[in-house]
């Protein structure tokens, strides 16, 4: 059984950064959403960055989790970005059309993809 991934949510320069170290799958759902809720409450950050640079595996349940996070961000009026996606998971974000609804950033934090 995959252990729950290391999930950290921290506010940096007005951005809520959600870092996932490990697998983004069904086991990550509760820890991630709880950590996000805990850190986002009372935060004035307008942007959320999902950092997947240290995430080795994303399952379909992980995609569902990103959808849930995206819904929550939208409800709160925050923009969601993702970074650190490998070419393979970039393709998965494309076929699921997630990349149409959130900004996918390349590894470098400053080079935004259009």
């Amino acid at each position: 059984v995959t252990p729950a991934p290391g999930i950290e949510v921290a506010e940096q320069d007005g951005v809520l950064v959600v870092s996932v170290a490990g697998d983004l799958d069904g086991d990550a759902r509760e820890p991630l959403l709880q950590a996000y809720e805990h850190s986002s409450e009372g935060s004035s950050a307008r942007e959320v960055l999902l950092d997947l640079a240290r995430c080795a595996y994303i399952s379909s349940a992980g995609i569902a989790l990103v959808v849930s996070l995206l819904m929550r961000c939208r409800a709160e009026g925050r923009a969601l970005s993702a970074r650190g996606l490998s070419a393979h998971y970039r393709q998965i974000f494309d076929v699921t059309r997630l990349s149409e609804h959130l900004r996918v950033l390349p590894a470098g934090p400053d080079q935004e993809e259009t």
């Binding site: 399952s59 349940a61 393709q91």
Partner: protein
């Protein structure tokens, strides 16, 4: 100052310094761990000599001394520790730290000089000079001691491993059974001194013989210990020997309580009737036996969970008959998963070809080993334990196959999926080769390792990295569906996986037992992200969509062996 346990205390006797600079009677640093009696002969007329004093490695005096540049009067030591008190009691007056490379390696302790109240400035300078030269020598001496001790330890471990190897050798058969009309051979070579593979021949009273081959995860000593327990359990349940399925179930239950986490044992048990050629077998996750028939080579399909994973596991009884001229090879994955210099795997197909060859002379085991050595280059370190057991039935064959011809690949068994001529993406010329077949328990989380294993088996199909990643995701999602929906997350029910090389690429088959009746609806609407974001669809439901997006084709079929999903992926032309 390091806190090492062998912190030294060198000492000088409180001997006179003739003409201040004469022969300074420096005793060699005394090794603390020897704790020899303090019978240092003292000259009767001198002030009380300072004998050597053991200072505990964590005594603060040592840290204090490490930062002193030269000899220190004990009277100037402003800290009160056990060592300081002891040194005072012994009449020590002067401490000379031996420091090298910033590390305190010893302390020379001196009583008062013979002809004076205090040590003179000049004498201290000489002592300091001596200390600066002695310290590195003490350090070197200590390193030599350590190295010698380490060498002794290595020698002892080496000796123990040699004994372990001999003990383990005793567990393996010392001689092969003599079966009328059969040629039996066996080979065992651990990757390290001891190993986790084993094999056994046990005669039954009615003339039949039990053949067992097993492979413990991991290698080396941990594997050898589990191998020994498994072997003992197999022998302890000799009353079950004539029924391989019951034998494996019993040994599995016994092993489950004892085996360390993350370890398990694959094991194949087979009963052979030499007179009729009838073989009854059961398999706990071990490599499938290769049987050479008159018209080709086939794998005997018998699957089950490895031993030690899940109490209550049940094993199917399989049977077949070896006709005159037929042969069976039982093997561990040490041969099929051996790599060549380019990291290509030896693989089952290569082994199948070897089994199918019919040269005029030579033993099949020997030919396998020669081929393996040629493949790996013969020099590379053996990666895993290797076990090979062959039973060849003598006599005339009704052969239609030319001597030396390659074996026909395994044809798919009905119900379990397999190639068929109208196979869309899978090639479909009927010449598909089975690369690997294995089972996994229906436990969430195992889909990752199953996918990794399938992708690694498919490596020979020439997929590029991106395609391999797509296959990994597709297999993981399909196995996840099989675990959750097909087998209802019942750990004792296996998910069976088969990886085939097709003419155009690869096909992976995932079979579940369709226990819950709530399989994934193939006609369910495709997930629509806009609907999901609007709350009109659940955020979930991406599994089948992902699978279909990742591979070229997906089809499903149901039969007596369960519900099978087949994933087809074409190799990109290079």
């Amino acid at each position: 100052v390091t806190q090492s346990a062998d912190q030294l205390v060198a000492h000088l006797r409180g001997a006179p310094l003739p003409a201040e600079l004469g022969e300074l009677p420096v005793q060699r640093a005394r090794r603390r761990w020897r704790r020899s009696p303090r019978a240092v002969p003292s000259a009767a007329a001198r002030p009380e000599p300072a004998t050597s004093v053991d200072i505990a490695p964590d005594d603060p005096l040592l840290a204090w001394l490490a930062h002193r540049p030269g000899p220190v009067d004990l009277d100037d030591v402003r800290i009160d520790t056990l060592a300081v008190r002891t040194l005072r009691e012994r009449g020590v007056q002067l401490l000379v730290p031996l420091v090298t490379a910033g590390e305190l390696v010893g302390v020379v302790t001196l009583g008062p000089p013979a002809h004076d109240e205090r040590w003179s400035h000049d004498a201290r300078a000489v002592l300091q000079e001596l200390a600066s030269r002695a310290a590195p020598a003490v350090q070197v001496g200590r390193l030599v001691e350590r190295e010698t001790a380490a060498a002794r330890d290595r020698e002892r471990v080496d000796h123990e491993l040699e004994v372990a190897r001999l003990v383990q050798q005793q567990l393996l058969p010392t001689e092969l059974p003599t079966l009328d009309g059969w040629h039996v051979s066996a080979f065992y070579r651990p990757a390290r001194r001891v190993g986790g593979d084993f094999y056994e021949f046990l005669p039954l009273p009615d003339g039949r013989v039990v053949v067992v081959v097993g492979d413990v995860t991991d290698k080396g000593v941990p594997a050898a210990l589990v191998m020994a327990s498994t072997h003992a359990l197999l022998r302890a349940h000799a009353d079950r020997l004539d029924c391989p399925a019951a034998l494996l179930a019993t040994v599995n239950d016994a092993l489950c309580s004892d085996i360390p986490e993350h370890m398990f044992v694959t094991c194949l048990a087979m009963v052979l009737d030499p007179a009729s050629g009838e073989v009854v077998l059961a398999n706990a996750g071990h490599n499938l036996p290769l049987v050479r028939r008159a018209d080709g080579v086939e794998q005997v399909r018998a699957t089950g969970l490895p031993l030690g994973l899940m109490p209550g596991a049940r094993y199917d009884r399989c049977s077949t008959v070896l006709e005159p001229g037929d042969a069976v090879l039982l093997y561990s994955d040490g041969i099929t998963e051996a790599h060549d210099a380019a990291r290509r795997m030896f693989g089952v197909p290569r082994l199948e070809r070897l089994v199918g060859e019919r040269p005029s002379g030579g033993d099949l085991v020997e030919r396998c080993l020669v081929a393996l050595d040629a493949f790996t280059g013969g020099t590379a370190e053996q990666e895993d334990d290797i076990t090979l057991v062959t039973l060849v039935r003598g006599g005339s064959r009704r052969s239609r196959t030319a001597e030396g011809g390659p074996s026909a690949p395994e044809r798919a068994a009905a119900g379990g999926g397999g190639s068929d001529p109208d196979d869309g993406a899978g090639g479909g010329d009927g010449d598909d080769e089975l690369l690997e077949r294995f089972s996994a328990p229906s436990v969430r989380g195992t889909e990752r390792s199953v996918a990794d294993r399938a992708v690694s088996a498919a490596a020979v199909c020439g997929l590029d990295d991106a395609a391999a990643e797509r296959l990994r995701t597709a297999v993981a999602e399909t196995v996840m569906n099989a675990i959750e929906h097909g087998n209802g997350e019942r750990p004792e029910v296996a998910v069976d996986v088969a990886v085939w090389r097709t003419s155009g690429g690869v096909r992976v088959e995932v079979t579940d037992q369709a226990l819950t009746g709530r399989s994934v609806d193939p006609d369910a609407p495709a997930p629509d992200l806009d609907l999901k974001l609007a709350g009109l669809q659940t955020p979930r439901g991406w599994g089948l969509f992902l699978v279909r997006s990742m591979v070229d084709a997906v089809d499903e079929r149901s039969g007596p062996a369960g519900h099978t999903v087949r994933l087809h992926l074409r190799r990109e032309p290079r």
